[in-house]
């Protein structure tokens, strides 16, 4: 799939999104803590967009912003559009659970006092979903007796698979999967992603937030690389397989080198904290190719080969 897909099939469009939290600093003074800035991504129908990047770069917050389930002290700037309509909170409420589904990051999102079958089926189309549930559980290698269990009786990997089942059982058009696979063994993780792939091929959109780059590369159409609350690069997965030279941004190259099979090389320094993010490129303090210009303003997203990059010097 290429990035210049026709506009009509655009499912979700995020343009210049910023997200900040109002926090107390001391007893009375308050401050705005910016956690996401200048973020733009687009998801088309039929596409799996993988979001990878550093821990604490705002990946989960993005998911929650799309669904409108952020805490009250959060402020959003920029526009989110779903099917060319601006996502207002009432529109979000209408879509949530119907057209938009989430696979949450933590297994603690399951209701501890409710049996698994009830949580997966929900309260709509019960008879139809009951049949679908058998099928999905079989594909995810969940035994039939799992249906009658409570969350505390499940292992970590099983609970993850139940969370995946809750999201794929309905008719959601856009599924946001926030770290769906940790704790699953490889073949189960592959099966879970194969289900997402099939849904995407049927015309749905999937956002896959993950740390497992290897896994994402096998299924995604595009990979967005996050760092300190913004996207630094959007690349087709094949560039990750082709090697360092095929990637664009210095951070992506560092990610590549840090993978166990590609040298396992760490990178000195830390991601800038929320609140200390400066006007310039967030990666500048750790970048070997950083110039004066990078410290002054964040480079705009520009097209480069088959992807996009935020770097003045990337080739």
């Amino acid at each position: 799939m290429n990035l210049n897909h026709i506009k009509s099939s655009t499912l979700l469009e995020i343009d210049n999104l910023s997200l900040s939290f109002q926090m107390y600093k001391g007893f009375v003074e308050q401050q705005q803590l910016e956690v996401i800035s200048n973020l733009s991504v687009t998801v088309h129908s039929g596409e799996i967009l993988a979001i990878v990047g550093s821990s604490g770069s705002g990946k989960s917050l993005l998911a929650h912003a799309i669904l409108g389930i952020l805490p009250e002290n959060a402020t959003i700037k920029g526009t989110l559009r779903y099917k060319d309509r601006i996502l207002t909170s009432s529109y979000q409420e209408e879509l949530r659970g119907e057209k938009l589904a989430l696979v949450p990051q933590s297994v603690s999102y399951l209701d501890p006092l409710m049996k698994i079958s009830g949580q997966v089926i929900g309260h709509k189309d019960k008879s139809k979903r009951k049949l679908a549930l058998k099928n999905i559980f079989k594909r995810l290698e969940l035994e039939e007796k799992t249906e009658n269990m409570f969350p505390f009786q499940l292992s970590g990997g099983m609970a993850r698979r139940v969370l995946v089942a809750t999201a794929v059982i309905g008719d959601a058009e856009l599924i946001i999967a926030d770290e769906p696979t940790p704790g699953m063994q490889t073949d189960q993780a592959l099966e879970a992603l194969a289900i997402f792939r099939k849904l995407a091929d049927e015309g749905k959109g999937i956002i896959l937030i993950t740390h497992d780059i290897d896994l994402a590369l096998n299924f995604a159409d595009n990979v967005a690389i996050f760092y300190a609350g913004t996207t630094l690069e959007i690349t087709p997965p094949k560039d990750f397989l082709d090697g360092e030279h095929a990637l664009r941004h210095p951070y992506s190259k560092a990610l590549y080198r840090a993978m166990p099979q590609n040298g396992f090389t760490p990178l000195a320094g830390l991601q800038p904290y929320a609140g200390t993010i400066t006007k310039g490129c967030p990666f500048a303090p750790r970048c070997a190719e950083c110039m004066e210009q990078c410290k002054k303003e964040i480079p705009p997203m520009r097209k480069l080969r088959d992807g996009y990059v935020r770097c003045y010097y990337a080739t």
Partner: protein, 204 residues
Amino acid sequence: MQLEANKICFGYNRKESYLLNNISLTFKEGEKVAIVGPSGYGKSTLAKLLSGYLAPVKGRVLLDGKPLNPKGVCPVQLIYQHPEKAINPRFRMRQVLEEAKGLDLTILKKIGIEEEWLTRFPRELSGGELQRFCVARALLPEARFLIADEMSTMLDVITQAGLWNVVLEEVKRRNMGLIVITHNMHLATQVCDRIIDISAINGF
């Protein structure tokens, strides 16, 4: 030094058959071993048995031929998969480190712990930052074996590589034994000399 599981059996449910049945393993100092296998096969349970958090129903865990001493610092240190569950939420990070008496403080810098984090509470740090504390406090002077149970699955690859490099360097310097539990075969082959599949040794 050598850590040995001698024909150990363990199960959580008395009505069902053992989860781990008749497992015998030997780990030597200076050796790096990965334990892999499907989820739910008892890898984490084995880690808890080897480090003395659980006692086997049958068989024994021996360190140099003697059972682990339940008192004092355990020479077999376990690093959990979920750092947020392994740290007292009401301690400040400085207290978390003070619990590990005699810790060589130069390790803090190597592992990338910032001075400023010491006054914070666990909830004010990210998973990756917390895991650095868990690794640092496991590297006590008395520690002879280190068990890393999915130590880095929740981390991005750059943080993962950074943490592993410090651990590997320290393990090598002190000639410790390292046991790595992971689902990531790339990681297992990169880090370890020997790989054990738990499903191949269980029940014989």
